[in-house]
Amino acid sequence: MANNNSTTAPAPTRRAGAQSPGRRRLFSALGFLVTLCVTFIGLLAITFFIGRIVPIDPVLAVVGDRAPVAVYERVREEMGLDRPLAAQFVSYVGDVVTGNFGTAVSTGKPVIEDLARVFPATLEMATLGIILGVLIGVPLGVIAASRRGSWLDQAIRVIGLLGYSVPAFWLGLVGLAVFYAKLKWVGGPGRVDIFYDGVVSPITGLILVDSIIAGDWEIFRNAVWHLILPASCLGFFSLAYIARMTRSFMLDQLSQEYVTTARVKGVPERLVIWRHAFRPIRVPLITVIGLSYAGLLEGSVMIETIFSWPGIGNYLTVALLNADMAAVLGSTLVIGAVFIGINKISDVLYRVLDPRAR
């Protein structure tokens, strides 16, 4: 995105040297905001374009194919489809900004309401997934780097590559068959057992938080029981990526001279690794974790289908199969916006935390 920055704000970067640091920071913040806006408009342009290439005539969908020409023309005008594309795009952006995503055919409700209802379920699963991914992935990456070339390193490398080769939906299916059906270690599909459904009134929509607020530990335990398998499946994919990146960052650090110095001074290897080499990679790791978190929101589409998880992925799949374009484009927009948002936040965090990038 650095390139985009220079597109929108070429002047500040060129004259940066002559300005006060506060001014420069203001300009880079402005440039960042402009980039963000351009990206969001790009996302809107893509969903708008997808909405236009649908082979189904939206007017025919409303009036039916036997309607007289006059009725057809009137409805077409009412829907604004006779106006130039640019004007249509502007009113589309206006609609989206004011939260009007259209009405979902499958539920009969406004898409925005549906999305607000299903999103917390996805957020809960992806968040637990990324926590698992970080807790396991980072140590694995560090171990792999500290024993470079050993069989352990090779094994971790293969695990990492499996993260790129195992279909998420297949992993979920096999997981269900083994851990739910055979071993009975975890709960089955859905967020809670059927007789707990709707017992806790949704406040945040995150069932773990809601059950704590309600003080209902039985439901909390049941929800964890159901959440653990889908979150682990998601976590596996972030683990693979995080371990791989951690390993390569660590290898960079371990080849630096200060590490050799520390070793020569007789610092124990464990301290060399965790206190000396690991510290500097925490900042780039934040970016990796951010990217991976955003990726999990995407990966949840497949996992949710398998686990009948009432989140945005499941909502999107159902809408896809019913060719319910308002719901499809609404979900695409929301997932896309969250994806861009998380990426940008990790970008900003990197700049704030790394003194060299400031």
Binding site: T39, L161, Y164, P167, L173, V174, L297, E298, A319, L320
Partner: protein, 301 residues
Amino acid sequence: MTTLRDWLIDDSPASPMQARLGRIYRIFGALMHNPLAVVGAIIILVLVLTALFAPWIATHDPLRQSLGERLLPPSAAHWMGTDELGRDIWSRVVYGARITLAIVTLVAVLAAPAGLVIGVAAGYFGGWVDRILMGITDIFLSLPKLILALAFVAALGPGIENAIIAIAITSWPGYARVARAETMTFKNSEFISAVRLLGASSLRVNLGHVLPLCTSSMIVRVTLDMAGIILTAAGLGFIGLGAQPPLPEWGAMISRGRSFILDQWWVATMPGFAIILVSLGFCFLGDGLRDVLDPKSGEQR
């Protein structure tokens, strides 16, 4: 043999052909020293051979139903068992190799040249061309690939052709970035200036001299992307938006086997193993190729 080898590794090749063959020989030799890359290459070779000779490798007709033999477990007659319509799963997995190979080839053929042309144009001309082209590329790159592909297929309608188009639409931006970066490094080198001084048009400079230099990093990138393409295509098939029945596409087969996962586990798991094996093969080979062709990008991915 030694004479052929000497000819291949000659430091001062007499013809461009000898230089090219020598380069291929060296790359091949370096790849052979990487065990994982060899495994990957073998897996992909097996995939290609399976696709080519599917009728001879399959033991049954992949589409022939025989309701008397529904959901049989793996046995000598049916190596991977049978599905809910009595079709032989092994034969379907074998024929599925053709579909997978066709998908990855078509996506690569559609997306890589498009990305290459856009990236080279952006890198070579710079200025506004670069800003506009890379602006569009960056927007595509900042969006989730799978979701975008899903939305495109939803708009175009289900089917394997539309799935391929949708995946290609979401794949080109990565290639454009790589090609742009490569072009920027060559653009100001002396041999390009020399060609320009000889009066070559920018089209000729790009097609004849810049594009060929980008190919090695493109090959690496495409190979590494293959696993992702296979997974996306299988995912579309699984949801029901990709290959349609009765095509023996692996993702669609897993989707059919979903209802039988508890009692007849082989229906859904067998095609999954095929997907994992082939994707791993491309990952291994891509990793190895990168170490040989593009060592500076190192471990990062």
